[in-house]
Amino acid sequence: MPRLAIDYQPVNIPLTKPSGEASDREQEAYYQWFVDAIPYRIDQLTKLVSATPKFEGWPPK
């Protein structure tokens, strides 16, 4: 049975309400979290894709 990478960490957005309803301060904190998370999320995506059968060759070099 195919198995995905066990070390994939699903995204956990630090908001408890829609961003449009958050305060300016909460939105700014969310945005900063998001920008900081980009390299990690790309790394997580790469792990997940390359651990999927038939997609091991992604990302292209």
Binding site: F55, W58, P59, P60
Partner: protein, 160 residues
């Protein structure tokens, strides 16, 4: 990381889009180790608010990550495209993307919410096999098509 860092070239979206379609449409590919399942269960329990409650947590996360990668392809290839906290207000109404990280400098379209467009395609695909067969639904080529659609808004002088 098996294949090294992604090259962030547009063609890399073709395989990534096929992968996203595969994990949405082929439940067997989502057969996962119990360790990851425990993480997903905890996450589902802990988050009182989820933007797309009908989408499985792992698929939602994969769509989120795919949207980020779509954005990074634009940033890598377009000089002035960058992240921005959307504060758009038009004619007194907040943008649908208000408060979300979006990409700016998309010409007359103003900005792109890359995560939003990917999530929309995934959500429609999950919801609408029964009721919707329109152009927004997910397909193996949909991610690359989204890139092709949105690239038209980037001023040509901004392309590297």
């Amino acid at each position: 990381m098996r294949g090294g860092p992604p090259n962030r070239e547009p063609d890399s979206l073709r395989v990534l889009g096929a992968w996203l379609y595969a994990i949405v449409k082929t439940p067997d590919l989502l057969t996962i180790d119990h360790e990851l399942q425990e993480k997903l269960d905890i996450l589902t329990y802990q988050i009182p608010y989820r933007e797309f409650p009908l989408v499985p947590v792992l698929v939602n996360s994969a769509a989120f990550d795919t949207g980020i990668y779509l954005a990074e392809v634009f940033r890598h290839n377009c000089a002035n495209v960058d992240w921005w906290l959307c504060k758009s207000v038009s004619e007194g109404r907040l943008s649908i993307d208000y408060g979300e990280p979006v990409l700016t400098n998309f010409g007359r379209a103003h900005h792109l919410n890359p995560i939003g467009v990917v999530r929309t395609a995934v959500t429609l695909s999950l919801l609408t096999d029964m009721v919707y067969d329109g152009p927004l639904r997910l397909s193996p080529s949909r991610l690359y098509e989204l890139f092709g659609h949105w690239r038209k808004y980037v001023p040509i002088e901004d392309w590297r």
